[in-house]
Amino acid sequence: MNLIETYVSEVGRQLRQKNRADIEAEIRSALQDMLDERSKQTGKPINDELIFAVLQEYGSPEKIAASYQGKRFLIGPRLFPAFIKVIQIVLPIMGVLGLIGVGFSLGRPKLTPGIDIRTYVQLNASFIINTITHAIYGFFGSMISALGSITLIFALLERFVPDLKTIETRWDAHNLLKVSLPDQIKSTELIVEIFFSGLCILLFNFFPQIIGFTPSLNSVVETGNWQSVTFIPILSEAFLRYVPFVTAIGILTIVLDGMLIQRGNWEVWSRWFAVIVKVLGISIAVVMLNGPFLIAVSTESLVTAGFTTPQAGNILLTLMNEGVRVVLVLTIIFGSLDLIKMLIRLFRENASILKVP
């Protein structure tokens, strides 16, 4: 029966929200009638082979969805999923590129390692405001331009590309096996997430001192003198203050993933649980981004540990601190996009509760 649900869901996602649940229920009921009759005719039980045959006969999800959409659209149901997919790929990439651009522009004044954010902002206030204002204008301008171009291209495709025949000839019901249902969990991903969450909790709480690096390793390899290996822990006191919060988020993640594996499917409560974990994660990333540096390495310790010059140590330190900031910014951006997707899905699910007895 899972194949039927996959098929119905494939049709449903190409339909308008307004009638989706009702049409899905009707298709489900019609397919069940067909299956019952075929099973009676052949004297065989309903199995995957029979379901494939019935779905093949019923028609491709694109064709069925299109048959319910009688009106002409600027971008019809045939191309709409592809249009949304392109938008989902292009706009976030442009957003990230825009933010990276702003980051580079803001970093143009000479960054002194060790300087705190407040001093930097005080020194470059008007420059920062100008850069951000220009970036916002540019960002919205390019977003609207990209959206317009994509819409135009798809509208032209809709108008001039031949009818659905090409899609119909490619339709093979067996392809449904490759489609995963929106509520289906991906166990491997969850197990990997549990493993890494556990690892982070263990490292940050019990062995934070082993997170670091050995800048002198090259010279050790060259000289063969392993006694001179110097290890520099990198986590600052500021980071260690965040560890209880990071641990709490890690534990919540493990609990959620464990329950998902046990239940086998996403449900409304688990989606809200995931939203809460995501919000906490983004919040802690925002706090870290605006707080003191998370890297505790000093130029002096790098020189002592074997770096050739203080300048080289300075560059490495700047790179490390900026690298951490970039990671935090990316975490916030992608986390927020993920959060928006999760909320949209939740509200859609609420709106599409089936109105049948």
């Binding site: 009707e26 009921s29 009638d33 067909m34 009759e37 019923y58 064709k63 319910y68 007895p357």
Partner: protein, 113 residues
């Protein structure tokens, strides 16, 4: 004319009669699949992808009404003519008779000439 073109023309011809055929069968309540079987018994084959959207359109035009019912642990949607549909059906039948008459005349004249 190729076979494919011929099939397309026949399909178009049949499509024209589907609305009347469906309305004529819905004096009594029926669900989609039973309607398909009933039409098939009379020689009119119609696929589900055509029928269900058509039923919805006719319902949205006020000619049909529908309700969901649970039968054998499964929801089924039953359709029946609305009052408006019942009032309209005789007029559509008249229209159909006149079309058939007109077409018969036209085709006979075409054959003679």
């Amino acid at each position: 004319m190729t076979n494919e073109s011929l099939e397309n023309v026949i399909l178009e011809l049949r499509r024209g009669v589907i609305v009347l055929a469906v309305l004529s069968r819905l004096g009594e309540e029926q669900y989609g699949y039973s309607l398909i079987k009933g039409l098939m018994k009379h020689g009119l084959e119609i696929d589900q992808g055509t029928l269900y959207p058509l039923l919805r359109r006719l319902e949205s035009h006020g000619l049909l009404q529908s309700n969901w019912r649970i039968e054998a642990d499964r929801p089924r949607r039953y359709y029946i003519l609305s009052d408006e549909g019942r009032a309209l059906l005789p007029r559509l039948k008249e229209e159909w008779t006149s079309i058939v008459f007109m077409m018969n005349n036209m085709l006979n004249i075409g054959e003679i000439s």
